[in-house]
């Protein structure tokens, strides 16, 4: 066991910290879940990309630094510590890109990855449908073969598509085999949102921002080169993405450690010398949990680096970080007392945190997965 960083890693951190100190906007940007804020965030992404900080773990040819997972962890730590802007490109970078690297053709990789990293093209996720939420396999949107058009005709509706109203592209699952049921007969498509027959309607999330969208497909033609992975192979292709969404990549500990540090600062600021007998324990528990999450991640990264890919244990991680994030913000709001209802980063953060136990597989689904696939309890 070795819990200190190598000189190279420390140098990486130092360079990054210096760059962030020089470039992170002094004023927080407007929410990236609004049209104007999204544009402002894309400019920031461009700045990150030009300095090759946008996708540190990617190969250099696509704008990355070929950084190790350890360096990526350091990047996340520093990024959140610096309170740098939210990553509006994250659905592409964290959800689609791993799948593109694994299943994409060389042409698809060349065509999409760099533009994704620079924010020139922005991607939203087309999983959920009105009747396919927790039950993702209930997808009904179809893709019908169109030989004359040299591709597929998309029909149906996706919904709860994060930032769909502002993005240029969508990746999602459509049913190519109408006779197949549940997980079978689905195909993974890459869809430019300006394709004729595609209509996007933004709608509000809990916090009022237009961060959600419904996407309607009416005989929208997508060519064969926009199929990712094999036809009818969509589910297994997508699971790689879901795996990374539910697992390590989206929720690095940096975010929660930074929040825990801000919570501690808030406690000291509000409570001063006399310990608040009621909230002191809550703050301490949340701080310890954030630390536990960081250490558990180091454990996981050690395993992954040794060639043992993150598996179903990612369900444990998802439940823990999402409920920790809620606790961190609940505790902060409790410290704010009557001011909790006022507009503040803590309230905004609380509203966002409340989505954690719901998306990427509700925590109810995750606990089923833990019980059945980690503990081996019987399904029926």
């Amino acid at each position: 066991m070795e819990l200190s960083w190598s000189p190279a890693e420390q140098a990486f951190r130092a360079e990054l910290r210096e760059w962030l100190a020089a470039h992170v906007p002094g004023e927080p940007l407007p929410s990236g879940d609004t049209r104007e804020g999204f544009a402002r965030h894309l400019e920031w992404e461009r700045t990150l990309f030009d300095a090759r900080w946008a996708v540190v773990s990617w190969p250099e040819q696509y704008g990355g630094r070929g950084a190790s997972l350890w360096e990526w962890l350091i990047f996340e730590e520093e990024y959140y510590r610096a309170a740098a802007p939210q990553r509006v490109t994250q659905n592409g970078i964290f959800l689609l890109a791993p799948t593109l690297f694994e299943f994409g053709t060389a042409d698809q990789q060349d065509r999409f990855l760099s533009k994704m990293a620079s924010g020139e093209e922005s991607w939203c996720q087309g999983w959920s449908e009105p009747d396919a939420g927790s039950d993702l396999a209930a997808i009904r949107s179809t893709a019908t073969r169109d030989e004359s058009g040299g591709g597929w005709r998309l029909n149906g509706q996706k919904t709860w598509t994060t930032r769909g109203a502002f993005c240029t592209h969508l990746f999602g699952l459509f049913r190519t085999d109408p006779t197949a049921e549940r997980h079978r007969g689905l195909t993974y498509f890459l869809v430019p949102l300006d394709t004729p027959g595609v209509t996007v309607r933004g709608f509000g999330r809990l916090d009022g921002d237009q961060g959600f969208a419904e996407v309607f497909f009416e005989d929208a033609l997508v060519t064969d080169d926009l199929v990712l992975g094999g036809v009818d192979q969509g589910w297994s292709v997508a699971m790689a993405t879901t795996g990374s969404e539910r697992g390590l990549t989206l929720r690095s500990p940096g975010r929660f450690n930074a929040t825990a540090d801000r919570l501690v600062a808030l406690y000291r600021d509000r409570v001063g010398a006399a310990p608040d007998p009621l909230l002191r324990d809550q703050v301490t528990r949340a701080y310890i949990d954030a630390e536990a999450y960081r250490l558990q991640t180091l454990q996981t990264v050690t395993r992954v680096t040794a060639g043992d890919p993150p598996g179903i244990e990612s369900s444990l991680t998802k439940v823990f970080w999402s409920e920790l994030d809620v606790r961190l913000h609940e505790t902060a709001l409790a410290l704010l007392g009557y001011e909790a209802e006022l507009e503040s980063p803590w309230m905004k953060g609380y509203e966002f945190a409340l989505s954690g136990p719901i998306y990427a597989g509700t925590n109810e689904i995750q606990r089923n997965v833990i019980a059945e696939r980690v503990l081996g309890l019987p399904r029926k």
């Binding site: 919904t159 709860w160 009557y338 001011e339 209802e341 409340l354 989505s355 998306y359």
Partner: protein, 322 residues
């Protein structure tokens, strides 16, 4: 010994419930998020005509001369429909304090709001009661406010900057006002929670995933059962607090703190459970759930949050010399 409301109290409750069902559907709450003053309009006038807005005003001053025990269920009903009005501020706090200077508060032609220290609907109110930093009764037209933004956009929160025409409040007035407001918010939290539970039960019965209504899954059943349990053991503390205020029980303040702490916790549990069981649908701004949820967040923190009130209980039961 009789822990129950009278026929009259229940009949009054039913009448107000019927009125609010008609005058304050969810569309009115949603409209108040974006209209001029954040208020319901007709619901307020209808409550005024019914006499509810002067319920605690002595009959000699034209009110109904009722007690906290008579109105606690009415406050709960205004919570159930998330009535966007300074109901507690006016009925339980402001009208009885202001009626001598401003007789029109009895029927709601003049509106009183109140806060400690922040005041909902301050700008729209004709009369202001504020308990901190300087406890006073002020004429709205003579006052200037700092506008604040509440997570519940209908609350139109303000902070009093200064008022030219005002009188200070006595220590007794301050104490009565504070505990009545605490009681009123506790009751509204119960109503909000009951409505969120009903909404969620209805949704879980109709929403199907994996071929079954999600309400048939134990994970949903047990979460909702826990909310029902929390309500079952919060409401009696709130009703007892109302009785203690109405009978000038020496422990009335302690009882109000127990009620607020428990009602706030039950409300927060109901809110987060309702959201979790609704999933992404409930997370959508277009769905009504968030209107109830955000009102709950606001009321849970105002007039002392659960931690503050539990600390008062702790001081009374743990710290006093044995």
């Amino acid at each position: 010994m009789q822990f129950a409301f009278t026929e009259d109290q229940l009949a009054f409750r039913d009448a107000v419930r019927d009125l609010l069902a008609k005058e304050c559907p969810p569309s009115v709450v949603r409209a108040a998020w974006s209209n001029a003053d954040g208020r319901s309009g007709s619901a307020w006038n209808a409550l005024g005509e019914m006499g509810v807005l002067g319920a605690l005003v002595p009959e000699v001053s034209g009110g109904l001369g009722l007690s906290e025990l008579d109105v606690v269920l009415l406050a709960e009903e205004t919570g159930r429909v998330a009535l966007p009005e300074p109901f507690v501020e006016h009925v339980l706090v402001g009208a009885p304090l202001a009626v001598l200077e401003h007789p029109d508060v009895v029927n709601g032609v003049m509106t009183v709001s109140a806060g400690d220290p922040v005041i909902p609907y301050g700008v729209a109110a004709d009369v202001i009661v504020v308990l901190a930093p300087d406890a006073q009764l002020a004429t709205g037209s003579s006052a200037t406010f700092e506008a604040l933004t509440s997570v519940d956009a209908s609350r139109r929160l303000t902070r009093l900057v200064e008022a030219n025409t005002s009188r200070p409040l006595t220590r007794d007035e301050i104490s009565v006002a504070f505990w009545r407001a605490t009681l009123g918010y506790s009751a509204q939290l119960l109503g909000l929670a009951r409505q969120m539970l009903d909404m969620t039960v209805a949704y879980a019965t109709e929403r199907r995933q994996f071929g079954s209504p999600i309400g048939s899954f134990q994970a949903i059943k047990h979460q909702l059962a826990n909310v029902r349990i929390a309500l079952e053991f919060a409401a009696p503390l709130v009703y007892r607090a109302a009785h203690s205020l109405a009978t000038n029980d020496p422990d009335a303040a302690l009882h109000c703190s127990m009620g607020k702490a428990q009602a706030a916790d039950a409300g927060m549990l109901a809110a987060s459970t309702a959201l979790q069981c609704h999933g992404a649908i409930g997370y959508s701004y277009e769905h009504d759930l968030h209107l109830w949820m955000k009102r709950t967040w606001a009321l849970a923190g105002a007039w002392g949050d659960a931690a503050w009130h539990r600390d008062r209980v702790a001081r009374a039961i743990l710290d006093r010399p044995a």
